[in-house]
């Protein structure tokens, strides 16, 4: 879901509490679609209250558009709360699974060493590949991914960001 525009736009984490019922995700993503805003990642999961889900969306858009987007989201009746998280005052994590081509012992050892530096876990080793689990901010995952690009990535799956504001 990468943007075609060259200049990188600021990164925002939008956190919302939404009704836990069918059709809510559709209404929210349809709003992004109708206004041509790109969703970089989206995660949804239940909260401590069974009738509310937390939806965390990351997006790269201009600040003026962000303001408009949040107002539009707030208008959606299924959204109970929505806020932009201040990245500096937020804990946020993403999990990535990366299957990396590793033809021989040397390759495998190098990848395992890199994984250790990034505190990533090796989940699986096959004859021709190593599967690594990396947890961190999207930047950290990008950094790890860039490092192991030299070995060819067979497959990659990222969860998207989960985030909470820091405690007082």
């Amino acid at each position: 879901m990468s943007s075609k525009e060259n200049k990188p736009k600021p990164f925002y984490i939008i956190s919302s509490l939404v009704e836990n019922k069918p059709g809510v995700l559709f209404r929210i993503t349809n709003l992004f679609r109708a206004r041509n805003f790109n969703i970089e990642s989206i995660t949804v999961g239940i909260t401590e209250k069974p009738d509310l889900s937390r939806m965390t969306i990351t997006t790269r858009i201009d600040e003026a558009i962000l303001d408009q987007l949040v107002k539009q989201l707030r208008k959606l009746i299924d959204i109970v709360e929505v806020e932009i998280l201040d990245v500096n005052n937020t804990v946020y994590r993403e999990l990535a699974l990366i299957k990396i081509k590793a033809k021989d012992f040397t390759n495998r050892n190098e990848i395992i060493n890199f994984a250790n530096v990034f505190r990533a876990n090796i989940l699986d080793i096959g004859i021709e590949s190593v599967t690594v689990e990396v947890i961190g901010t999207p930047d950290k995952i990008d950094a790890f991914k860039n490092l192991i690009l030299q070995y060819d990535i067979v497959e990659m799956a990222r969860t998207g960001v989960s985030a909470l504001q820091r405690g007082e």
């Binding site: 059709g23 209404r27 003026a64 303001d67 107002k71 539009q72 707030r74 009746i77 109970v80």
Partner: protein
């Protein structure tokens, strides 16, 4: 809280009771397979059902009704094509913030998602053009869903709500509870404005030399007519309106300047450029009203008052934003202003400039040189029509001519499809308006292209005894498209000629309505007088020249300063 009532009944019956509890007195609809249980329950309902000939018209009728009553209008359709036919009408209501409740039948629950006969995912289709769409999954949910629908449709910034009821949910007989109170936790319309911002706005207005008020549709939706007039007269500010705000302020008032915009009044488009402070009330700075967003309001202070927070800064960044109900915010402003302003400033350079512009343009915009023109016809209509009459329009030249040449005197008696620009809207909407106000005349200023789209509503008008007047400015053309082809495409006409088909007098007569052809001012005058006395709908088929253009014109993508007057 009153004691909730409970009894055993079908979902369809519960729907009828729920609608009665909301005070519904009329619904516009068309039956089909998936809403037959609703139609069966309608037999015993306490409110009126008006059978339409096409579902699109049912939605427009509900919309016209809602705009005049200022409460929700209800339309019914079956599943699939019935429901999708409603969509144009729902989207029209959404674009103009009109509270329409659309109730559709749906295939039974166990058939949903199986591509059943006449199945459409209408919840998905309606999503971008409704405030909300409900699908009750069992009969006991119906009363709560109806109550929530009316609340959502009518409160805050109004808008359409769809209720899609599967057939088995309509049929299901069970114990049903009718709640008196409902809560929608994700919906919190802001009503009371922030007083400190109101105070700042008042200070800014008092310190400006050339204030202007730009009144939008929000004034009409909140019924803030007397408040608007009071504030204008206190600060002696000229009042322009958006097209949707036309009639928010009496257009014969000494401070009235008429609508701005693509086909706004020349003096209104000019004076707003010369103001130093704009008070925009219930307006959304649409492209059709302000031209280019970047040029509009440059070097001026803008105060924006609107009930929808998402409108603040959407098209135009503003200096002071007040979010809240227009009526209550204006009332507060009037109170604050009355304390400061002891003597009205009736004579100043700004008001002289206003007069100067009106005089200049009245001399410099010439009428099209024919005996019978749209402009003369509309001025004649104004002369003969009682001031409290309701006027609506179709879309295109007929609509813009009405904006320019028909003065709305009694506030809130004019509406049109201003946002979506739906051809075919005016005629069914006028029937809906007539159902809301049978005591006044209702006129649809139509063009031949638009009227042709929903003319079968003549059957509804005649059979349901809702006589309206269709003031058909017939230039035998899709006139606005022809004007653009003339102006921007070197007169290369394509797809605009109607070739005198059909004969609108005969069409009217075929439906049992009154059809009158008018080809001169004399004939027109007689026709209007005849129509005002008629007990059935009258179509006045008025022959006008196909080359008569609408001026002034602010071409798309240009600013109000680039207005072409056609002089």
């Amino acid at each position: 809280m009153n004691n909730p009532t409970m009894s055993e009944m079908s979902g369809a019956k519960a729907l009828m009771y729920s609608l009665e509890k909301e005070g519904v007195d009329v619904v516009f609809g068309l039956p089909g397979g998936a809403n037959l249980p609703i139609y069966d329950a309608l037999v015993d309902a306490k409110f009126r059902h008006i059978l339409v000939r096409h579902e699109q018209s049912a939605a427009h009728m509900a919309d016209g009704y809602a705009r005049i009553k200022r409460k929700a209008g209800v339309c019914l359709a079956t599943s699939g094509p019935g429901a999708t036919n409603l969509i144009t009408g729902i989207a029209t209501a959404y674009a103009d913030s009109s509270p329409v409740i659309a109730i559709t039948g749906q295939v039974p629950l166990n058939m949903i998602g199986k591509d059943a006969f006449q199945e459409t995912d209408i919840i998905g289709v309606a999503n971008p053009c409704t405030k909300y769409a409900f699908q009750p999954r069992c009969a006991p949910e119906i009363p709560e869903v109806v109550k929530k629908s009316f609340y959502i449709a009518e409160s805050g910034r109004p808008g359409p709500v769809l209720i899609d009821i599967p057939k088995d949910v309509q049929q299901d007989v069970t114990e049903i509870l009718f709640p008196d109170l409902i809560k929608v936790r994700g919906y919190k319309p802001i009503v009371d404005p922030d007083l400190s911002n109101v105070g700042k706005a008042v200070e800014l207005l008092l310190s400006s030399e050339r204030p202007i008020i730009m009144a939008g549709g929000g004034v009409i939706l909140s019924g803030a007519f007397s408040e608007l007039q009071a504030i204008a007269e206190l600060i002696m500010a000229p009042v322009v309106t958006t097209f949707k705000g036309k009639g928010a302020f009496p257009e014969n008032h000494p401070l009235a300047m008429g609508p701005i915009g693509m086909h706004g009044h020349a003096e209104a488009n000019r004076i707003i450029l010369e103001a130093d402070c704009i008070l925009a009330v219930g307006a959304r700075f649409s492209d059709r009203s302000v031209g280019r967003f970047d040029e509009f309001g440059k070097g001026m202070n803008i105060i924006h008052l609107d009930i929808d927070p998402a409108e603040i800064g959407k098209n135009k960044s503003v200096d002071i934003a007040i979010v809240g109900d227009v009526k209550s915010a204006l009332r507060t402003m009037v109170k604050m202003l009355s304390k400061t302003i002891t003597k009205k400033n009736t004579e100043n350079p700004w008001l002289r400039r206003r007069k100067e512009l009106i005089e200049y343009f009245s001399e410099n915009i010439k009428d099209y040189p024919r005996e019978l023109t749209a402009r003369k016809a509309l001025k004649k209509l104004r002369e003969l029509l009682p001031p409290e009459s309701i006027v609506t329009t179709e879309v295109g030249q007929c609509q813009m001519w009405t904006s320019l040449h028909f003065d709305v005197i009694s506030p809130g008696t004019f509406f049109s499809s201003t946002g979506l620009g739906t051809m075919g809207f005016g005629f069914p909407a006028s029937i809906g308006a007539k159902a809301a106000r049978p005591d006044v005349h209702v006129v649809d200023v139509a063009g031949d292209g638009s009227f042709n789209m929903t003319e079968n509503s003549l059957a509804v008008s005649v059979l349901e005894n809702l006589p309206v007047i269709v003031f058909l400015l017939n230039n035998d053309m899709l006139g606005m498209v022809a004007q653009w082809q003339r102006t921007f495409y070197d007169r290369r006409y394509m797809g605009v000629h109607q070739k005198s088909c059909p004969d609108y007098v005969k069409i009217a007569e075929a439906y049992g309505a009154n059809g009158i052809k008018a080809q001169s001012m004399d004939e027109l005058e007689k026709a209007i007088k005849n129509a005002l006395k008629s007990e059935v709908a009258t179509v006045i088929d008025l022959t006008i020249d196909p080359e008569e253009d609408v001026y002034p014109f602010v071409a798309p993508g240009t600013g109000l300063k680039d207005m072409i007057t056609g002089a």
